[in-house]
């Protein structure tokens, strides 16, 4: 059995898959990849089932070594510079790491989360139906914690030969509005408060991790004297604490929340929000529940735009926006402070020592 040995990685490097939905009623978030589009795409590139377990990188890169045989890999989501056995490789394209060779992935050059899939998948036993790490419950992943240098990921044997594949990149346009369905507790806000959420731009703060993204911007006005009772949350629930700044709950959310929820990000757009870096803008756009369902169903049929072979001619793909890849990343859903201030600083520092040549418009 071949093994991917982790030689170096960021503090929020975890194994994630489609998540463990269905257990929120006992307090377990569904966890799973923060950008389900990236998970599905990385898996499709290496010929794995769409929600197979893969390595999720947050901000920081990774250095690893192949032991016991060659392996085929693909990185999707946030782009990064890749050096594989000394060869320069690219995101959203398969590459082969030979026995004994080193894989060096630099810090993300845009976005936050990248998913590294390995053909055949990672051989870790599912816990409650999923191999996704839930750091708070200390379950899933390799041994219930984020990956660290020295860990060896056992890989499933592969039955088929390696096939070269490529795809367009996951859309990371920082200006695309994030669509929401207003409610369920919009009544706890003044009309002006709701209009602030929908009409004013917000900025991603440094307070972001796999549980929640805190946003900054205009204060959302609440109605005085509304009594609030804790109730169920979903990934995408936008809570507004007394300070008036929205908090969007993410994959590792608390399943019960006591702050009023002014709106809910639709599942197709949650992965897009997950990729917004501290300092980037977020604008919310309202859709009805019916429109939200139509969008979710389109995601399912358009599926992945993965092609065999290598991209024609150029190293750059046309336009990431032309890609009809969307996320299911919804109910799929786990406390790794992926992106707190410290991590962000570490990642920012790591960018200085990025490996390989940098693509100028990555």
């Amino acid at each position: 059995m071949s093994v991917l040995e982790i030689l170096n990685c960021g503090p929020a490097t975890t194994i994630q898959d489609g998540g463990r939905p269905g257990l929120s009623r006992i307090g377990l978030p569904s966890a799973g990849a923060m950008d389900q589009r990236a998970l599905r795409l990385a898996n499709a590139l290496v010929g794995n089932p769409p929600h197979a377990g893969a390595v999720e990188l947050a901000f920081a890169g990774l250095v690893a070594r192949a032991i016991g045989g060659a392996m085929q890999l693909a990185l999707a989501g946030a782009p990064a510079d890749i050096e594989c056995g000394g060869r320069a490789e690219q995101s959203h394209r398969t590459f082969i790491l030979h026995e004994g060779e080193e894989l060096r992935i630099g810090a993300m050059t845009n976005g936050i989360y990248a998913v590294l899939a390995i053909a055949g998948g990672i051989a870790v036993p599912p816990v409650l139906g999923s191999c996704s790490l839930d750091a708070r419950a200390a379950i899933g992943g390799l041994v219930g914690r984020p990956l660290r240098p020295g860990d060896c990921l056992p890989l499933n044997g592969r039955a088929t030969p390696f096939v070269s594949r490529w795809s367009n990149a996951v859309g990371l346009d920082p200006l695309v509005p994030i669509r929401v369905v207003v409610g369920p507790q919009d009544h706890a806000f003044t009309e002006r408060g709701v209009q602030t959420l929908l009409g004013r731009p917000f900025t991603v703060s440094h307070g972001i991790n796999r549980m929640a993204y805190r946003l900054q911007g205009s204060v959302i006005e609440r109605k005085p004297g509304i009594e609030l009772i804790s109730d169920g949350t979903l990934p995408g629930s936008i809570q507004v604490p007394p300070d008036g700044y929205p908090i969007v709950l993410m994959a590792d959310r608390q399943t019960i929340g006591g702050y009023p929820k002014i709106a809910t990000v639709i599942s197709a757009d949650l992965g897009k929000l997950a990729q917004r870096c501290p300092g980037q803008e977020v604008c919310f756009a309202p859709v009805t529940a019916r429109e939200a369902r139509e969008i979710a169903c389109q995601v399912g049929v358009s599926d992945l735009n993965v092609r065999q072979g290598v991209p024609p001619g150029l190293e750059r793909y046309s336009s990431p926006d032309a890609l009809d890849l969307e996320a299911i990343g919804n109910v799929a859903d786990a406390v790794v402070d992926a992106c707190d201030v410290t991590t962000w600083e570490i990642a920012a520092a790591a960018k200085v020592s990025r490996v390989g040549p940098r693509n100028k418009d990555a």
Binding site: L23, S24, R25, I26, G183, P184, I229, R293
Partner: protein, 256 residues
């Protein structure tokens, strides 16, 4: 009929004004929230649990699960398989059906060591409530509780039924970590803790029961709606039961 904020009338039951209506609302593209009033009370909680049970008996295609809370049920569904309007109609009819008693209420006797090293805030709580530690433990253990919901941490069970005179404001500064299985009071609520975690609640005791264990099936012992009695035990009994629980034994007694 626009069901995006449907209001149901319950004519068949002599209920208080608080219970007179349920409200349905969409939560994104994967959720449907059924709210029963805006005040925590046993009748409302019962209503939520009845709807949860009715929903689970119904086995509706596309429904993933339902998150039980004090006054609401959040139905989670797969938008590829179910749509809000159709599901809202089903939930409306389920919520309108005359409430029946739960087929069987499960009852548990849960051992709890009050005070000592496990009751970090027991002395302080006694000062604030003007009771002796023995009286507080007896009063807390003497109540009849229902598992109202899970949340905060996996398997963390919020109980309804805390006597109102035992209500205590949360601590001014939360603790970063308290023992697994801690029994605590936070405001008008009390809870049976699960795994270690942060807490701002007043910790008065600990159960040796492993309320959450991912390696066990089911991972949680309790279900929303279960009836719970707390049984005071000594520290020595705690350690003995904890050792047995560690080896996989169930140390809570199911009495019905």
């Amino acid at each position: 009929m626009n069901l995006s904020a449907a209001v149901l009338e319950f004519a068949d039951e002599p209920v208080s004004g608080l219970l007179a209506q349920a409200t349905l609302k969409p939560v994104g593209d994967c959720g449907l929230l059924v709210e029963f009033g805006s005040h925590i009370c046993d009748e409302v909680s019962r209503r939520v649990l009845q709807l949860d049970e009715a929903l689970s008996n119904e086995k509706i295609h596309g429904v993933v699960e339902a998150i039980v809370a004090y006054t609401s049920l959040l139905v989670v569904f797969d938008p590829h398989l179910a749509d809000y309007d159709g599901l809202a109609r089903r939930m409306t009819s389920l919520a309108s059906a005359p409430p029946s008693m739960r087929a069987k209420t499960r009852r548990w006797r849960v051992p709890v060591a009050y005070g000592g090293v496990f009751g970090l805030d027991l002395e302080d709580a006694c000062d604030r409530l003007g009771m002796s530690p023995a009286d507080l433990a007896a009063a807390h253990a003497g109540a009849d509780y229902t598992i109202a919901m899970f949340g905060f941490l996996p398997g963390f069970a919020y109980l309804s039924g805390l006597p109102s005179w035992l209500a205590l404001p949360r601590r001014a500064s939360p603790r970063a970590r308290i023992f697994s299985g801690s029994i605590a009071i936070g405001g008008s609520q009390t809870a049976i803790g699960s795994i270690e975690g942060p807490s701002g609640w007043n910790v008065i005791g600990r159960t040796p029961l492993r309320t959450f264990d991912a390696e066990r099936y089911p991972a949680t012992i309790f279900e929303p709606g279960d009836n719970v009695r707390l049984e005071p035990i000594t520290i020595e009994q705690f350690h003995e039961l904890a050792a047995r629980a560690e080896s996989g034994e169930m140390v809570a007694e199911r009495v019905a």
